[in-house]
Each structure stands twice: as C-alpha cells, then as structure tokens.
Symmetry: C2
C-alpha cells in the first residue's frame, strides 16, 4: 500500500514537472511573439493551450484515483491535495501565456510594445521562463534550497512590474492611452505568472518533502 | 458512514454559503468606497480580508478531515474536491474586492474614477454583488436553475467590461494615462470576480447535486 502510494505519487510529480516544462515553453514563445511581432509563434501558443488544459485534467484524474484507491490520510492526503492545487496553478500559468500570445496576435502586424518598455518585457519574460524551469528542476531534483531561490526571482519580477508602472504613469509617456492599457495588462500577466510559479514551487516542495516552505503562500491577485 | 458523510457535507456547504456572503459584502463595500471616495469603507474591506482567508482555511480543514475520516470515493470524493476548489475561488474573490478597496485608498482623497465611467462601475459592482448573493442562494436552495441564470449576469459583466475598453481607448478620452491604467485594472478585477463567482456556482451545483452543469467551467485569467 505505502509502496504503491509512493510510486503513484512519483508519477504525479513527473506529470507536474512535465506541465512546468509546457508552461515554460508557452511563456518563452509568447514573449518572443510579443517582442518579435511574430504571428506564427503567437498562433503556436494559442493552439497549444489545449494540451496544457488536458495535462491538468490528467493530473487531476491521477490524483483523484490515488485518493480513491489509496485513501491516504494526514500528510499523504495533504500531499495529494497540494499536487491538485499545483496543477491548477500551472494551468493558470498556461492561460496567462495564452493571453500574452493573444495580445501579440490582436495588434499584429503592429507591435504591442512601444520601444521604451521592450527591455522590461524581455527581462520579465526571461524571469517568468526561469521560474517555470526552476520549478521543474525542483520537482526533478527534490532540491528544497533551489525552491527558496525562486523567491528572489519573484522579487525581481515585482520590481520590474513596479518600474513599468512608473514608466507608464510618467508625465512624458509619449505612446498614448491604448499602449498604456496594453502594457498595464501585459505587465499584470507576467507578474501573476511569476506568483503562480512560486506558489507551485512551494506546493511541489511539499509534495516531495511533506513540508511547506515559509509560513505563507498567499498570492496577490 | 453515509449519514455522517452527508451531515459533514451539509456543514461544508453552509461554510461555502457563508463565504459567499462575506465576499459579496466585501465587494459591495469596496464598490461604495470607490464610488463615494470613502476611506473608512475601504479600510473596512482591507482589514476584513483576513476573515475571508480564515474562512477558506476552515473550509479546507473541514474538507481534509472529511476526506481523511470518511475516505469517500467516486462522486462523493469529487464533491469534496469541488468544495475545496470553490473555497479557493471564493478567497480569490475576496482578494479582488480587497484590490478594489486598495485602489480607492491609494488615490484618496481624490476619486479613482473619472465621471465618464462611474456609471459602468456602479453597474459592474451591482452585478458582482448579485453574483455572490446568487451563488449563496444556490447553495442554500439547491436550485440548479438559479445557477444557470448566473451565466447571464456574467455575460452582462463581460459586455460592460468590453464597453469600458471602448471608452478608455476612444480618441477623445480626456482623463490621461494614469486614470486609464486605474480603470483598466479595476475593470479586470470586477470581470475576474464575476468569472470566479460563476465557477463557484457551478462547483456548488456539483456539491449539492453531484452533477456539473455545462461542459466547461474554463476561466479567463
């Protein structure tokens, strides 16, 4: 029973790691679509989102069957529920990458981003993808210290996000209201993606160690 | 065993109904804080958010103990998991009301909303609160038809949200970039709140009937 449970749990962790890879790829392509005004990359992310949704359903089904067949209690039970929550957050990360891609498609052949904020988005994209990759490697390596390092990347993201607002709100923003609205929403997508990534990392640390790192995994909306 | 399970599940549904009432109140007050530039109402929502977070934790703990003690399978298991997901969405609705309240506080004593969009936000607030109240009454009455009616309110919200963008993006928007950014984010908070409310309603229909209404409960981010 315990052995079966641990083998099932290992497979569930593998499924979560695969989802991390998928949402990391999606955000990498979506950011390139945005920066390079590349319609076919945007389309690739948009049509790929269904696979991420399917992977989440598969994770949930696996977790449900684990609960039904093994009826785990105490920490084991919380571990499976953490995996279900992590899969939900990963699907949301996929949705956020999808929204970046849709913004790129909506304005095509015009670029969404004015020149003054391109660098910030390149950096936010880099951090977002590294958070997804880092979370994947936390699952595969079970390295809890690596999970904590992800918090620093999230702080960087928050700084970039705040910096973006200063740029948009500055009196001399020359790009008009429509560009400001696009940049506001896009900035929010990246910031939310990073928050979800950190929440997933904390939950998978729980899944692989049975302990939740830090007191709080509250998310800003 | 079955009787104990159903009594526990009934209590869990009551907890969800109470959370609906809390997040409905929070959004009602936050909207008034926004429209009336009322700092003390904003503070009330901000300090009240902790109670909503606690209510979510209590729901989760109750659900966990139900899983651990009763080890439900099949539909019973999915029902408890739907309740856990619903509690999570309700906490997010509380967070979104909190963000509206924080926006009102940030700009105080200045109003956040320019005159041209006040009517829209009054209406979005009305719909958001009615969605929370409607969800509460679906839980209490177990009236599945009432849950379906919530979809119409959500469509209204989406229309208002789209209308808001047309207003902001219009060439003659006279209120500048900062106001446009505030209105963009606030509009998103209301629209997300409504999406979550509909998702909660669908899940509680599942909790009270064992059947999920509609094929999809996908959420926009």
């Amino acid at each position: 029973m315990r052995e079966a449970y641990h083998s099932e749990l290992g497979q569930l962790a593998d499924q979560l790691a695969a989802m991390c890879a998928m949402v990391g790829d999606a955000m990498e392509l979506a950011t390139r679509a945005l920066l390079e005004t590349n319609l076919s990359l945007a389309e690739q992310v948009i049509s790929g989102d269904e696979k991420i949704d399917d992977a989440r359903s598969a994770c949930e089904e696996h977790a449900y069957s684990l609960l039904a067949l093994q009826a785990p209690v105490a920490t084991d039970l919380r571990t499976v529920l953490a995996a279900i929550h992590a899969a939900e957050s990963l699907e949301r990360m996929g949705d956020l990458a999808l929204h970046v891609a849709k913004a790129a498609r909506r304005r095509h052949p015009n670029p969404v981003l004015p020149d003054g904020v391109r660098e910030s988005f390149a950096e936010m994209g880099r951090i977002a993808v590294s958070l997804a990759r880092g979370t994947e490697s936390v699952i595969r390596s079970q390295d809890v210290a690596a999970a904590r390092a992800l918090d620093d990347a999230d702080d960087e993201m928050d700084d970039l996000h705040r910096g973006l607002f200063s740029v948009i709100m500055a009196k001399d923003w020359p790009h008009g209201v429509a560009a400001a609205v696009d940049v506001t929403l896009l900035g929010r997508f990246y910031e939310r993606y990073a928050d979800h990534a950190v929440s997933v990392a904390k939950r998978v640390v729980f899944v692989v160690t049975g302990r939740m790192p830090g007191a709080s995994d509250d998310l800003e909306p």
